[in-house]
């Protein structure tokens, strides 16, 4: 199955059996591709997973195997090794993760094909929620986050990625992270009959948009965003320290500016394009371009629906780097498959955030920081 054929399928249309067929074909093909083109990937598959080569799709499936049986790489590997499956002169862009926990950052090498397919997948997934026409876009961030290459990280990449849905763009914050009230008023006035698209990182929206709107409301300045759709991502970690839940986030924003249509998303720079959008029921959904498997830390076996574990993400996109099957460091749970009340097929799930750091014993330096 080629990527073009997958693009021909509606993103949330296939049920489990049909989707398994599609993903098994594509992910097996990608595994072979990287085995033949990325020497590091080949060494890992040979030496750890004991696959000399992958069988043909027919042989593979005749043994009852599916994409769930294919190898995965731990996501941190992209920080430790340079992994690519194309020649250097094919690489048009290198993406970096934000390296907060480690000084090292991931390096994700993109060629024209992978980069283009990331965009195509993203468009298909997001337009299932926003509709297919472009919208005036308000970005809850400062313009320098994409101008300044030094700052350019997951935040900048996210903004650029979502900018393809914009007919025009407005950065709502200045470089001091202050809300540009006049600019916002103008932008809304000029686009008053159009559906507005608001994008930003969860924490930025709360800290620099919501809190500011609350203050403005006290002095009689109000904005009506009832005709807007908001997409936010980047996780809840910083907000849980302020004890803001998803429901509260929705309620409070609705209270202050009438916005109703709010969607979280889950995604990572290592699998750009394959994002997981939150539906009206508050569930993250895997599209036809990707899947999520939750694994048991004791033996990496596949957990059942409802069992928390380590999140593995699969993507049909990456051909320039071996990132089609990754074991993340996030904890999650599959909530169900094919039966979300929102009507979308495929798995729906919840992410609890980063796995908690291991409390390991012993006398190595790992914990020196705590003790000094």
């Amino acid at each position: 199955m080629t990527f073009e054929e997958i693009l021909g399928i509606k993103p949330f249309e296939l049920d489990s059996a049909k989707k398994t067929e599609v993903l098994t074909d594509r992910l097996l093909w990608l595994s072979k591709l990287h085995l033949n083109n990325c020497s590091e990937y080949r060494e890992i598959i040979n030496r750890l997973w004991h696959f000399k080569d992958f069988e043909s799709a027919d042989e593979f499936k005749s043994k009852g195997l599916t994409y769930k049986d294919l190898p995965f790489l731990p996501v941190r590997l992209f920080k430790e090794l340079d992994l690519k499956s194309v020649k250097d002169d094919q690489i048009i862009k290198t993406m970096h993760s934000s390296g907060t926990t480690n000084q090292r950052v991931s390096k994700i090498y993109l060629d024209k094909e992978t980069s283009a397919n990331q965009q195509k997948a993203m468009v298909k997934i997001v337009s299932d929620f926003t509709g297919s026409s472009r919208m005036p876009m308000i970005i809850i961030d400062c313009p320098s986050v994409i101008k300044n290459r030094a700052l350019f990280s997951a935040r900048g990449a996210g903004i650029l990625g979502f900018s393809i849905f914009a007919s025009k763009k407005f950065f709502a914050l200045d470089d001091e992270m202050k809300l540009d009230v006049d600019g916002l008023r103008n932008f809304l006035e000029v686009n008053k009959d159009k559906k507005i698209f608001i994008f930003g990182f969860t924490f930025m929206i709360w800290q620099h948009f919501y809190k500011e709107l609350v203050e403005l409301k006290k002095s009689g300045i109000e904005f009506d965003l009832s005709n807007a759709i908001m997409i936010h991502g980047g996780g809840w970690k910083k907000l849980t320290s302020e004890a803001v839940s998803r429901d509260e986030f929705h309620e409070k924003l609705n209270e202050v500016c009438n916005i109703k249509d709010i969607h979280d998303y889950y995604g990572m720079v290592e699998q750009t394009g394959c994002i997981y959008m939150e539906c009206e029921c508050g569930h993250l959904h895997a599209s036809i371009f990707s899947d999520v498997i939750v694994r048991n830390p004791l033996d990496f076996s596949v957990n059942k629906i409802g069992e928390r574990g380590i999140v593995q993400v699969l993507s049909t996109i990456p051909t320039s780097y071996p990132g089609h099957s990754l074991l993340t460091e996030d904890e999650g749970v599959i909530l169900g498959e094919d039966d979300c009340p929102c009507g979308r097929k495929g798995k729906y799930f919840k992410i609890f955030g980063r796995l908690k750091n291991a409390e390991i014993r012993g006398c190595s330096d790992t914990y020196a920081d705590k003790f000094r």
Binding site: E40, I44, H50, L77, E80, P297, D299, I360, R361, Y367
Partner: protein, 403 residues
């Protein structure tokens, strides 16, 4: 007298107080293995042995056993065999205990006391029940030892350069129980020109198994218990925990299969791996697969994550750049003991634990290597001794007076 910084008020005293601390440099030094000190330690031993609370902590019991009279007398014999010398403490010993081995502070303190010093021990802020139990016992005991009371101060404080500076300048010996970051941090605080320092840097350790010897052993179960205690009990994260298993002898394959089968039983029975550790192990195994070691994971990734065995076709100190914990072992089939020269010729190589005859390694030790400070039987890697990490603690913490 060094001026007392105001930040000294941020010190939390577990044993002793500010006045005792300030007065410490004026105390008389004692001879090594001083009778009164030994008597006090023996009483502490009895107290801990009879403590209901301590019973649940084998590490407290081992410590109590180590400081009982008979054991101390044995130690004394090892150091009191030279005539014509007086051996006295150096003065004040400032100990920086490690964060994750609960009882280490107590061993360090005893080494300081037996060498005749007054001791300030900084404990990590991490909560260990063992620390509470031992500290309470010491406090009770010191009520009866008015003199010795002045020789022991146990403290905690948050990271603070002023306090580090003050205590370092006060010290005649500074003893830092690692790791590298902590040592580097403390070294920004000066010690006096005549003071000395002992540092325990990050180390790695290895295990060698003579397959023929192992197969002849009747009690394979106790070997597995010993192995577990040396490794999994401390998440394989102690400097003394072996990271590499070296196989020797003529029946390696047979020995391997029995050895690991027995270990797996123990691991399944007692060990629960945390998710992050499972991911770390997969990551390190993936990295080593791409390096020049011809690495091969025994079993597969989708087996149990508690035990990773990675076979390699050579061992060298560079391999230890890819060290992992929580049940991750490199394995090497060795046909000549001198193949271990490279990994042993590195001053980061600490403990060689052995299933077999320790004498096998004399050739290696005498080949002029910079590493391996101790060779012990399996199960004893964590046993504390006054010779540690290549240092004779009594000698380093005391001075000779020649007449």
């Amino acid at each position: 007298m060094i001026p007392m910084p105001t930040s000294l008020d941020n010190i939390d005293y577990l044993v002793g107080n500010k006045a005792i601390l300030e007065n410490m440099s004026k105390l008389a030094t004692r001879p090594i293995f001083d009778d009164e000190i030994m008597e006090m330690l023996n009483e502490l031993s009895a107290k801990l042995m009879h403590s209901k609370l301590a019973k649940n902590y084998p590490d407290i019991i081992s410590f109590a056993f180590w400081i009982r009279k008979a054991s101390l007398n044995n130690l004394k014999k090892r150091w009191n065999n030279k005539d014509n010398f007086y051996r006295l403490g150096r003065g004040v010993c400032f100990h920086i205990a490690p964060s994750n081995v609960a009882m280490n502070f107590a061993y360090s303190l005893v080494a300081g006391l037996l060498s005749g010093n007054a001791n300030v021990v900084r404990l990590s802020s991490k909560d260990f029940k063992q620390v509470d139990i031992v500290v309470d016992a010491i406090n009770e005991l010191l009520e009866d030892y008015e003199k010795i009371r002045h020789y022991i101060v146990l403290i905690r404080y948050e990271r603070n350069k002023d306090i580090n500076d003050y205590l370092s300048l006060m010290a005649d010996t500074r003893i830092i129980w690692g790791g590298d970051d902590t040592i580097n941090e403390l070294r920004t605080s000066k010690i006096k020109p005549r003071s000395n320092e002992i540092t325990f840097a990050n180390r790695y350790s290895i295990l060698a198994i003579d397959s023929d010897y192992y197969l002849e052993k009747s009690d394979k179960k106790s070997v597995a218990i010993n192995f577990y205690n040396d490794t999994y009990l401390s998440d394989q994260n102690a400097c003394t925990s072996p990271r590499i298993v070296i196989w020797l002898g003529s029946r390696i394959d047979e020995a391997k299969s029995i050895f690991w089968e027995e270990n797996l039983k123990k691991i399944h029975e007692k060990y629960t791996i945390q998710a992050v550790s499972a991911i770390n192990k997969l990551t390190t195994a993936s990295i080593i697969a791409t390096k020049d070691y011809n690495a091969k994971l025994v079993n597969t990734v989708l087996d149990n994550t508690s035990l990773y065995r990675v076979e390699v076709d050579r061992v060298d100190s560079k391999l230890m750049d890819y060290m992992e914990s929580c049940g991750f072992f490199y394995e090497y089939n060795c046909s000549d003991i001198l193949e271990l020269r490279d990994i042993a010729d590195n001053n980061s190589c600490q403990t060689l634990s052995v299933i077999g005859n320790k004498d096998m390694f004399r050739e290696l030790i005498t080949s002029g290597i910079k590493g391996i400070d101790r060779i012990v039987e399996i199960g004893h890697t964590m046993d504390f001794d006054l010779v540690w990490d290549g240092y004779d603690l009594i000698t380093h913490l005391s001075r000779f007076v020649s007449i």
